[in-house]
C-alpha cells in the first residue's frame, strides 16, 4: 500500500447533495460529491475522453459524464455505463471541524 497524506480541499458546507465540485491537490484533479450525507472523493477526469466529471449530472448515487454519458457509482467509483471502460480512482475522505480532507498518494 502506497503512502498517503491528508490534504484539506474544501469546506464541508460547500459540498452539497446532488452536485459535484472540483478541487485540486497539486496537479491531481478530484471531484467531491455528497451522497446520503457522506462526502466521497474520486478522480475528476473521465477516463474516456478528458471531460470534467464535476460538470456532469448527479442523480442519487450516480454521476454521469457531461459529454458522452458514461456513468459511475459515486460511493465506489464503479463504472456503470460506457463509453468509459474502467472504474474511477477513489480517495479516502475525512471531515474535521467542518473542513474536508482527502488522502492522496504522497
Amino acid at each position: 500500500m502506497a503512502e498517503t497524506s491528508w490534504h484539506r480541499v474544501a469546506a464541508s458546507v460547500d459540498v452539497r447533495e446532488g452536485e459535484a465540485i472540483a478541487v485540486n491537490v497539486g496537479d491531481l484533479q478530484i471531484a467531491l460529491c455528497r451522497v446520503g450525507g457522506t462526502i466521497h472523493a474520486f478522480e475528476n477526469i473521465c477516463p474516456h475522453a478528458y471531460a470534467l466529471l464535476s460538470d456532469g449530472f448527479v442523480e442519487d448515487n450516480e454521476i454521469e459524464c457531461p459529454l458522452h454519458a458514461a456513468r459511475f457509482e459515486i460511493t465506489t467509483g464503479r463504472c456503470l455505463a460506457p463509453p468509459a471502460d474502467r472504474d474511477l480512482v477513489t480517495y479516502a475522505v475525512k471531515v474535521e471541524e467542518d473542513e474536508v480532507f482527502v488522502a492522496v498518494p504522497s
Binding site: A51, D55, F57, L67
Partner: protein, 348 residues
C-alpha cells in the same frame, strides 16, 4: 434528421400576403398565402397536374390558381376547378398544413395533423409584450439546423467570433457554468462576475464599471432557444436575483430546417430598458445583428467542411455539454417518432 410533430416558424407575418410565396421546410415545398379575409394558408407547393410550384400562380377569389394550366385549389388543398372540363379528378388535391399566427410569426405543423395543438407552440411573447421593445429578422443559412443549436448552447464562442460586439475573454476564462436538463429541456446558466462589460453592453447600457453578467440559455426541442442575458454593475445583487441599474435582454431564436444542409433562421432581440423607444430597439438590434452575421459565416464554413467528409472525426470539450444534451433529446425524440410511424405502418 427532422422532427415532425412540432410547430415550427414558417415565415414572418409580413411575408404572408395575398401574393403566394414558396418556401421549403424539411424538404417539403410549401406555398403560403393569405385569403381575402386575412386567413393564412399553407399548401403543398406543387401542382399535382404537372408539378409546377403553385407559388408561381395567383389567388383568384378564395382559390389558388396554378400558373401553368389554371387548375384551382381551395384552402384545404382540394382542386375546385379544371379549366376546359367539368370533371375534377378526386386525386387532384395537394397537402395542406395547419398554421397559426402568433408572436408576429406564422407557425406551421409538419407532423400528424391530428396532433396539431396550438397550445404546444413555444412561448415567444416578448415580441408582443408592451413591457419589452423587440425586433425580429430572418436569415437564410446554408448549414444544418443543429449547427445553429450547438452555437447558441455554447456561448464561449462569443469571445472569439464576436469580440467587437457582445463578447470578451471574461466569458471564457471567468464564467461559472451550470448545465441542467429535463426530459425535453436544457438550461445552461452562465455567470461572469466582476468583469468588464463587452462593447455592445457599454454602448446600450452605458456601463462605466465592471459588471455581473448572466446568460441563461433555455433550449426546447427541436430548435427553440430563448436566452435571458444582461448585466448589472458588479456587486449590486444580480446573482441573488436583484437586477437593478443594468440591462436585461432576451435573445430569441426559432430555427426551422429547410433541407439537411440549409436552414431558416428566425431570430430577434428584446430589451426591457426604454421598451417604447424605437430608436433604442433599432440600436440594440443592429448591434446583435452584426454578431449574427458573424455566426452565419461560421455555420456555412462548418457545413462546407462537414459536407466534404461527414465522417471526419471531431472532439468534444467541456463547453459542449449543453449542446450534447440537446442533441441527445433530439435523438430520443426522433427514435420515438420513427417507432410510432413504424407501429402505425404495421397496423395499416
Amino acid at each position: 434528421m427532422f422532427l415532425r410533430n412540432f410547430w415550427y416558424v414558417a415565415a414572418t407575418d409580413q411575408e404572408v400576403q395575398a401574393k403566394p410565396f414558396g418556401r421549403t421546410i424539411m424538404n417539403e415545398p410549401i406555398v403560403f398565402f393569405r385569403m381575402p379575409d386575412g386567413t393564412p394558408v399553407a399548401l403543398e407547393d406543387r401542382c399535382p397536374h404537372r408539378r409546377l410550384p403553385l407559388s408561381m400562380g395567383k389567388l383568384v377569389g378564395d382559390a389558388l390558381q396554378c400558373g401553368y394550366h389554371g387548375l384551382r385549389f381551395d384552402k384545404t388543398g382540394q382542386c375546385v376547378r379544371v379549366p376546359g372540363q367539368d370533371l375534377i379528378p378526386p386525386s387532384a388535391r395537394v397537402k395542406s398544413y395547419p398554421v397559426v399566427e402568433r408572436y408576429k410569426w406564422l407557425w406551421i405543423w409538419m407532423g400528424d395533423p391530428a396532433l396539431a395543438d396550438p397550445d404546444k407552440i413555444t412561448d415567444f411573447h416578448w415580441f408582443d409584450d408592451p413591457n419589452w421593445g423587440a425586433k425580429s429578422a430572418y436569415l437564410h443559412v446554408e448549414a444544418n439546423w443543429q449547427l445553429v443549436v450547438d452555437n447558441l448552447l455554447d456561448l464561449t464562442h462569443l469571445a472569439f467570433v464576436h469580440e467587437t460586439t457582445i463578447g470578451n475573454m471574461a466569458l471564457v476564462e471567468h464564467a461559472a457554468v451550470k448545465v441542467q436538463r429535463g426530459p425535453n429541456n436544457v438550461l445552461v446558466t452562465r455567470w461572469t462576475i466582476d468583469q468588464p462589460a463587452p462593447p455592445t453592453f457599454v454602448k446600450v447600457g452605458g456601463f462605466t464599471t465592471n459588471v455581473d453578467r448572466w446568460q441563461i440559455i433555455d433550449y426546447a426541442p427541436p430548435a427553440f432557444l430563448r436566452l435571458d442575458v444582461g448585466a448589472t454593475p458588479t456587486g449590486t445583487g444580480a446573482p441573488e436575483g436583484k437586477r437593478v441599474g443594468g440591462i436585461s435582454m432576451r435573445n430569441l431564436n426559432a430555427i426551422t430546417p429547410e433541407t439537411e444542409t440549409t436552414t431558416h433562421y428566425f431570430w430577434g432581440q428584446a430589451h426591457d430598458f426604454e421598451p417604447g423607444n424605437r430608436q433604442m430597439t433599432e440600436r440594440v438590434f443592429e448591434q446583435i445583428q452584426a454578431a449574427f452575421y458573424e455566426d452565419v459565416a461560421i455555420f456555412q464554413a462548418q457545413q462546407r467542411m462537414i459536407s466534404l467528409d461527414p465522417d471526419s472525426p471531431t472532439v468534444d470539450i467541456n463547453a459542449d455539454s449543453g449542446g450534447i444534451q440537446a442533441r441527445r433529446i433530439v435523438d430520443r425524440l426522433y427514435a420515438e417518432e420513427q417507432a410510432a410511424l413504424a407501429q402505425r405502418a404495421a397496423a395499416e
